[in-house]
Structure formats: structure tokens, C-alpha cells
Symmetry: C2
Amino acid sequence: MVYNVNMEKVALVGFGTIGSAVGKIISVDGASRRTSLAHDPNSKSLISDMIANLEVTAIAGLADTEIRDLIDTSPEYAGLRSATVTSNFEDIYATNPDIVVELIGGVHPAYEFIKDALSRGIHVVTANKAVLGEYGNELRQLAVQNGVQLRYEAAVGGAVPVVRAVRSSLMGDKVVSITGVLNGTTNFILDKMTHDGADYADALKQAQELGFAEADPTADVEGEDAAAKISILASLAFGRDLKAASVKRTGITGITQGMIIAAKTRGQVYKLIASAVRTSCSDSSDNIELLVEPRLVPENSAFGELQGSMNAVEIVSEYSGKLIFSGLGAGDTSTASAVLADIVEIAAV
Amino acid sequence: MVYNVNMEKVALVGFGTIGSAVGKIISVDGASRRTSLAHDPNSKSLISDMIANLEVTAIAGLADTEIRDLIDTSPEYAGLRSATVTSNFEDIYATNPDIVVELIGGVHPAYEFIKDALSRGIHVVTANKAVLGEYGNELRQLAVQNGVQLRYEAAVGGAVPVVRAVRSSLMGDKVVSITGVLNGTTNFILDKMTHDGADYADALKQAQELGFAEADPTADVEGEDAAAKISILASLAFGRDLKAASVKRTGITGITQGMIIAAKTRGQVYKLIASAVRTSCSDSSDNIELLVEPRLVPENSAFGELQGSMNAVEIVSEYSGKLIFSGLGAGDTSTASAVLADIVEIAAV
């Protein structure tokens, strides 16, 4: 390897769909960029050249033998072959990672793991909305105390950079409200009910068969996933400790085909909408209303037109007015792109 | 003043619509947040609390006497009263600013001024698309050489955080194309022609009377403004030195009422569209096509529905797919908010 400036050491914890997509991009794009740079060291630098500086030193996953095999045999993972592959999280620390990427999902043991990494003074990138919805404030404070970064662009909206918008772009502004379609599964089900005339049970079954919904669909259809996401955005936007549990939730299980038809005749469609609204301007914490519920929106509107796993978020702030962001809310490479942006931005500082 | 942690010293150069809006927000919001923090030092911190750490040490503007009067008499500028007010740019350096905010506009002397500030090791925030469209690459390199930041979120898309999206959110991705409605004046004129049946000359006259167009409208109607903006985004996205002059431009002066009516019958409207498209994947610099031209878009689409000074940008990248951002592309507080986000983000590092 000719390119031997300071490599940033990255440990991937979790090597499922997203984790392996992140690993593959680092492997393939890193190698290709190092080749270009070796060929012409003065070639103009894309900011994304930073990817050439990333070295995956460890990969942790329960199926460590399968992961090792995959990496050793697939050319697209060739750049990861020097990594330690382990089923024991603790082993990653022996490789002295600068950045740990947590992609195991679920609240436990992800929470304990992130806490441990931050306490050791290691930057953490995660896509874990469940952990952040419950322990976000504590983990953010822990990161500050340890002088490291905790980043989670991929936890909300997939590739749509809405976390960055709230955290950075509106730094000098005051957010009034955040409203969004943040859950792809319910979007899929409501789409099927609206366009194919399916009833709720059939639409859910189709979603499950196609892999858009889990065997136990509760987290999606009861709005828990959207609640975690809106609580993350609201905590950042309003500087409060707003937990997912404090979101008033109504899921989509009560939506019938009759309701959908009645809405259609008025040019409206149902979407599961998550919202956080500042209801007064004092500094107490009881003035932010957090809600997830099915709402009727015009068919021809930013929210009404969303299909499948498309997400959209509308942010209203005092000085900037209304901003709308939309894009893919899920998908392996799009979520991986958001994870990578966080990794690269930490590495670039 | 109770709040006396490290204050970040800011010099405002240019105190017109945007400059005074920035000054007012720092004055009013900074004071209000310092009061809250003095009252309860442990009160949870909004990221925007950083605004409490900003101190405007100098204001430069040609009308220095009027600016001094305004600041000394208007309560909303009370927080700026200790600032040096001068008509001579050089005087600001005596106040040792950490960040200089260039809001004088136009290529010269803004270019020389930004160069001087960066060379002195001072961070620069600017909204100046004309300078960046011509000298962006040189100034970015100068900033890197001097270990300081050059930020310009407000130069493209007003409050729409599209510069940040290209610079940060897509760091680990590869941009394929950027397409946008980036000029409010032409939007206004085309709107008038489409919805009020005005011909081009009348629509332009109305825009001028209402202050949406300059006496000399060339920069807007001939697409120069949009060309500068797309060249800025493309330079960042593709890591190239792409100047505004290299954009192929067609303005809106040739659009007739007859063309608008014909389009309407097909459900389409004209918009001045700026685009940057990667036409091949090699590393040479002749494979990015930059274009500004009137195009027909469906009436009911993200671009077709934009009115007045609304901007929208669509970014397609390899891993993230299509992202769409929209919001106010102009306006004093919205542009000021983008400038403030840059200031606060520099101050926060």
C-alpha cells in the first residue's frame, strides 16, 4: 500500500446488511482512490478521498466464521482481510480503533457497548434509533465528557441528512416544528391499501412476504420506530431529553379500507406522520408535543406522494421558514452512505 | 455580562439586509440565551446556545455613520454597541476577529478581502456566490494552507442546507448529478408569465418594481447567478475546479407567452434549471457537464410547484439514490440563518 498517511482505524460491530455494505464501500472505494492517488499524488482531492484513509481493523459479529469466509473469498471485501474478525465485542479494542461503528441494532447490548466505547474515548457512529430514543441524552453527554463524537445520521431518515440539518444547518436558528414520514413499512402497507385495495391484514402479509415488515410488525405498525426517530430529532432540535416513550402514539392497525376509500374521494391519503411541535417559547420541557399518528394528507403533496421506503421531513424554524428534505429512508447502500458520511466527517477533523 | 467563557470574536463586513439580520440575531438571541444560562447554568444546552458565545467586535460598511447611529439607538442591536464601526475594512483586524463574515457581495473587492483574511489565519464565512464561482478553488486551497475554514452555506439555496449536504452528508458517496431551481428572480418572472398571463417584459417590470429584480437584471435572467451557484455545488461534489464561466448558459429572455400557454396544455411549466451531470467515471475534468437553461417540468413536481423565491435541489448519488431539498432560497432572516449556522459551527469546533 503506497498510501500511508495517518490511517483512521475503524471497527465494525455488526456485519449484517448495513455493516457489510459499509465494509464493502470502504474496501472497494478506498482501494480505488488509493490507486489514483498513488498514480498522481497531486490529483485534485474529492472530500470523499478521505475514504482512502480508512482502515477496518476489526469486525465483530455473531457469525464470525461466516464473516471470515466471506471476506477471505469475495474480492469486493479484499480491503478488509487484515481485520480481526471476532464474535466477542471486547476483542475489537485490542486493535485500538479510533472509531467504532455500532450496527447490531436493538437496545441491549448495544447501549452497554456504545457506553463502553465512549468511556474508552473512542468515537462512535451508530444507526441505532432504539438506543438513541431511550438513552440518547445520556450517551450524548458521555461523548462530550470523554471528548469524543457520537454520530447517528443513519438512525433517522436513512440517506436523508436530516440529523445533520437539525444539528448543524439550524445551529443559529430556532426550530418551531418537525413533521415527517419516517417509517417505510407503514408507508408500504398504506400504499398497498390505497392503490391495490388490499385490506390491512393482506397488506401486512404482503409486506412480510417481501421482507418490508418483520414477523412481529409491532415496532413499525404501532409507530414505535417513528416515535424513536422523532424523539431523536426533537431532542437535538429543542435541546431536551425527549425519550421515545414520551411520544403519544397511534399506529395504523385501525385504518380500514373504507377509510382509505373515503379519503381518496377527497384527494387525500393516509400517512403515518411523526411530529414534534414547540407549543410555547418558555424553557421548560413540557412545551414540546410529540406525536405519531395516521393523518390525512393531500395526494399531491410532499408527504402524499411518498412511496415505498421514501421518507420526507419538513422542518419549520423561526428564521429559515419551511425546509423539506426527502429521499430513501432505508436500503443497504443508502443507509451505508449515511454511516460513511459520519465516519469520514469524524476522520476529517 | 455573567457569561464569560471564551467568546468567539466575529467581524461583520457588509451591513446591508443580510449583515444587519445576522447582527440582530446575534444581539437578541445571544443576550436572551446568556440570561437563561446565568439564571440556570445547568440548563440543558441547545446547540444553538453557541450563539451566546459570539461577540461582534467590528462592523465594516460604507455607511459607517448611519450604522453607528442605528446600533446606538435601536434596542435590538444593543448587543453590538461595543463593536468598532468603520468604513475601512483594514480597521476590523485591530479587534482580532476569529471569524470574518463577508457580506459585501460582488467579485471585487470581496475576493481580495477574503484572500487577505484567510492569509491572516482568520476563518471566513461568506454568502458571495460571485466570488466563489470564479475563485472558489483558490480560496478553498488558501483556507486549507492557513489551517482555517471557509464556509459558504448561504451562497447557494439560501436557507436550504445544500452546500452542507454535498460537503458533509455525501462524503462517503459518489455524486452522479445535481439539478436545481436556484434563482428566485427568474422563478418570479416565469410564475407571473404562467399564472397572470404577463409577457416577459411586463413580468420583469413587475419583478423590478417589487424589488425581486435589479435595475440591470442580466445576472438573474441570463442565468449567471444560477451558473455561479451550480458551479459551487459541482466543484464541491466532484472535487474539481469548475468555474461559473464554464457553465453553458441560456437565460429566460427568449420565453414567450405562446410557449408558456403551449406548455400549460401539457401540464408543464418552464423553470430555469441548473444542472451538473457526471457524464463518465474517469478522473479527467472534462466529464462534468454544467448547464443552466429553461426546461419544461411537470406542474405537479418538486420543481414545478416551486413559487417565488423557493429553491429546490435534487442530488443523485451512487449509494444514496435521489435526495431532494427545498426551502426559501432568499430572504433576510433565512439567509442570515445559513450564515449563522456556519459561524456557530466554526465556533463550536
